[in-house]
Each structure stands twice: as C-alpha cells, then as structure tokens.
C-alpha cells in the first residue's frame, strides 16, 4: 500500500491492495486509466519507493524493508528500467549510455564498451553507437534504453509506457525486442501501458483501478 498526502482535504491512496508475483521469463502487462496508481506501483516494484505497508520480494530479499544501499545495488544489478521517451543521459553517446551501467557494476571500460556495442547491434543499432541521444530517433532512443535495461541480465525488467511516444511500427518493434531480450535471459518483464498491442505478448494482463490490482 502506498499513500500520498499532498496537503489537501484527504490523502491519496495511490496503491491500496496489489499482490503480484512475476515468474522468471514471464511477461505481465498492467493496464489502467490515468491516475490509477500504475506509476506508483512501478516505482515500488523498482525499489524507488517504499510501500507504507506490504512486502516486495526479489531474489529472496524483501526490498520494502531493506536499507537504501541494498535497494540501490539491487536497482543496478537486478532490475532493468525502460522509461517513457527513452530516458537517456544526453551528454553520453548511445554506447556510453549502455556501458555506464556495466562499468558501474564493475566491468572494465573497454569490455563494457564492447558489450554495449554488441547489444546495440542486436537491437539493430549497428553504427549508431557513437551518436548522442539528440541525434537518435525516438525509436532508436528507446532501443538504447532497452539495451541498457538488459545489459546486466537483470532478474526483472520494468517498462513504463515504452511505446507512448512512438509510432506504430517503432513501438511494435521496441516491444518485441524488449520481450525477446528480457524473457530470453530468464528475466521477468512487467510493462505498464495504455497500448492494447502490447497485451499481445503478455502471459498475463492485469488491471489497476483506484489502487486495486486485479486480473483483466
């Protein structure tokens, strides 16, 4: 459960009751209207927010109660993120953006850059690694974000509206590549989206309404 108190007449119960288990290699799609608490739920799943009540287990560790240092390390090594608009570091090249998480996890820079290049090539971005995000199309940016998300072979990948700012073709391509890379390595995949096409690749579709999560 997660409650926000912005100072108004009543606090906002963003997430009231959400029980979710994601198996290895499973794809779960969460839909719901705006303001239903999807972003809050995803923040909790990504160890970016602590729930007011409840538990969140990943690899045998309750991240809801774990100290911030554990949560930070888990975010780096065990959770992959794909945000809206392909959120990248604008002053690093595409290759550097992917290599950054590899380096932070202890990989030497030359090796990190090679692995980053290979990942980008798998995502159809061969020869685009030296470009900066500003020179990439929205679809390319999102694919770089996908590469960064799966670079450390995480346990789970969380994607927040990955096709929100993409055309039909690009969005479909990104989702397929994300699904293939994430589940192919055994990671669970949770996608929050309004896009009905995304549900086609889901093992389960859930719906979040007014803070309650249930099967769609």
């Amino acid at each position: 459960m997660k409650t926000w108190d912005p100072g108004g007449p009543a606090p906002i119960h963003a997430v009231v009751d959400a029980s979710l288990v994601v198996e290895c290699g499973e794809t779960v799609v969460i839909t719901g209207p705006s303001g239903s608490g999807k972003t809050t739920l995803l923040s909790i799943l990504g160890a970016l927010l602590r729930p007011d009540r409840g538990e969140m287990w990943l690899d045998g560790v309750d991240l809801a109660a774990a100290p911030e240092s554990i949560r930070q390390g888990t975010r780096l090594r065990k959770i992959g993120f794909v945000f809206q608009r392909g959120l990248l570091l604008e002053n690093l090249s595409a290759r550097q953006n992917v290599a950054l998480v590899l380096e932070a996890a202890g990989c030497d820079r030359p090796i990190a850059l090679v692995q980053a290049t290979e990942l980008l090539e798998r995502l159809g971005l061969a020869g685009r690694g030296e470009l900066y995000p500003g020179a990439l199309s929205p679809g390319e940016r999102q694919r770089v974000a996908v590469a960064r998300a799966v670079a450390l072979t995480p346990k789970i990948v969380l994607a927040d509206e990955p096709t929100a700012h993409l055309d039909t073709a690009s969005g479909g391509q990104v989702v397929r590549e994300l699904w293939a890379l994430a589940t192919g390595s055994g990671a669970g995949l949770v996608i929050v989206t309004h896009d009905p096409r995304v549900t086609e690749i889901a093992d389960r579709v859930l719906r979040l309404e007014d803070g309650y999560l249930f099967s769609a």
């Binding site: 009751d17 570091l89 002053n91």
Partner: protein
Amino acid sequence: MERESHAQRLDAPPEEEAPPAPPVAERRHPPAIPTGRLSTSIVLELAWQTVRRQPGRYVAAVGAVAAAVMLVLIAGGLYLGLLDAMIRYPRSLPGAIVVAEAGGSATMLHSSSHLARDAAETIRKIPGVASAYELYGRLAWLEREGRQALVYLVGVGRQSQFGLPAHVVTGKARPDFDEIVVDEVLARDLGVRMGDMLKVGVVDLRIVGIAAGGNAVLGTYAFVQQGTLVLEGIQDPSYVFVQSGPEVTVDEMLVRLDQEDGMHAMTREAFLDANQALTRQIVLPLIAIVVGIACAVGGTIVGLTLYTVTMERREEYGLMKALGLPDRTVLGAAFAQGGIATGAGVVLGLVLGWVSSIVISLVEPRFVTTMPTWLTIGVALGAVVAGGLASMIPVRAVARIDPALVFRV
C-alpha cells in the same frame, strides 16, 4: 502466448492465489550486494562529457574564477612589487647596520633623519666597526617646465662607490657638479631625456644618467654630487651604513652604537622593514578588500552557475540514481563538473594575470608587479578551495533529488 480471457474483480475469490511469502526462517537477510563501483573514470567521464558538450553553460563559472584569480594575482603582485620597489635602492647599499637620528624616522621617502656632521667619524672609532659610510640625502622637489616631482636626493662622493644608483640604464652613474642622475620612471613622468635640465631649488642640473631601481612608487631616488647638496644647505648625513667586524656580533654592535648621543642603530632588515611599513599599513587593507570582493563575487557566480546548470539536468541525475548508480558516483559527477570549470578558470586566470602584469608594467612602469611562485601557487590553491566549496552547492541539491522523479517526467 495465451492471455487470460475473463476479468476478475478483487472482491471475488481469485482463481489463483499468490504464493505466500517465505516463512520467516527461510527469509534471507539482505545480502551484501555490491552497491556499484566508484570509478574515478566514470565520475570524470560524466563530468567531462557534460562540460564538453555544453561549454557555453559553464562560461560564466570559468569566467568568474578566471576574473577572480586574475584580480587577486594582480593585486598581490602589485602589492609585492610595491613593497620591493620601496627598498630596492636602500637594499643595494652595503652594511648590516643602519644608524639614523635618535627619535627620528627611518623611512627615507616620508621623513628626514639628521645626524651630526661627524657621525661617521665617531662611529668608525667604536671598537668592532669595520666600515661606516654616510648617506647624504633629503626629500626635494624637482621641477621641469612647471611640472614637479618629489624625489629623495642622494649625494654621492667624488670617488666613493657608496650610494651610487643600483643600475644605470644609460649615461653615467656618478654625476659631477651641476649634474643629476634620475630614475627612468621620473624621466618618463617629467618627459625628460639625457641632456635636459631640471631645477632643484635654485640650482639647475643637467641629466647625465638615467637609472633603474630607484622607483619607490611614492617617489624616486635621484643622484647628485655631494657638493650640490651642500648648496642646498645639506651638510649633515642622514644615515650611516655600518659593517661590523668578525670579532663582534651584530647585536653587540647595535648596543655600542645606541650608546652614542643622537644615534639610533637598527639592523639592515629592520631598516628595510621600516621603509615598507607605511606602504604595508596603507595598501594592505586595500588589497585585503580587493581579494575579499574577488572571492565573494567569484564564488557566488560559480555557485549560482553550477547550481543552475545542475538543476537543469536534475532529470538526468534522477535517472542515474534510479538506475542504481551509487550516490558517490552521482554526487561525484556533480562535484567534478564544478572542479573542471574551476580548474579551467584557474589556468585562464593565471595566464591573464601574468599577461596583465606585463601590460601594466609596460603601460605604467611606475607599477611593478612581482609574482613569486608562492603567490601563484597560493592564489591557485585558494581558487581551487573556493571553487570546491562553491561546487558543493549543486552537490547538496543533487543529493536531495528523488530517484522516483524519473517516473514523473
């Protein structure tokens, strides 16, 4: 992949229940997951790429540091140059001890000292004195075509090497009767050259030499024959420069000299220090004010610029935190960008300071700058520390960024 085809509401018994959490006994204590490596290269790479890709955003910070460093360097250099100029000529005179009029001032350019006419002879008779040279000198006004300049007129003997100018640029060092040797700064001020005439009191003197090292900013030294001073009514020595023999210490010599009526003896260092004292008293507070203003303004601009640039990128800092990069890497990158801007500003400021000091000396030779290594290093280190402190302002802001911000973008 098959999708569940029917919807269920939470209030209906779910067909599948989520497996319960592991029993308490089976729950693992949080493992020691490495929180991410602090790589200096990552920190510097992030900071360097940020500055390199958006150099214009850091121009204000670099410029502020450079201006502050240049200002402090010039102010310090001018101050040290002024102090050095005050004593350049008296420092060239030999003797470990200087005797002045008792109760008088030892500052040559600001006051006068009158010793007895036979003071030097008296001093030479004191046991332990190896040599004693009289310096005849007085403050006087030189005049040329209605323009005046204050000088300390030094009377030199016909044969003695004592008291001559430290360095002659052109002409001769020892003037004859009705002749004068002036400092190059004075020559420039009055617009005079070799052969021109200057009036001192009622006496006209021809310029036969132009010297260097006699510029004491507040006045200059000029050299005439001792007989010329006599014409001006100056027959008594102002100071006597004494060198003691090896059989007696300087302290012992001071005691012996102080016992003579009308005399006050001091070490050479104390004499030079006294000649710098007034300058120090007047100029040093001004220098301190200049330095304080430069630091305050420079530090404020640097801090505000870095804070603004950092806050414009708070989304990226939030992203780095969300991705799990360790705090020290994220904060280190924020701090390092300030370090890069500060470093560039220091280098630029030092170069501008050195160039400016040369230009100042060329444009106005009266103002001589002295920039010893310790001044340069001290200014650079001070700027680095101040820049580092200013860089902490954006670091504190970055530390407060919520990583969940990435989902609110």
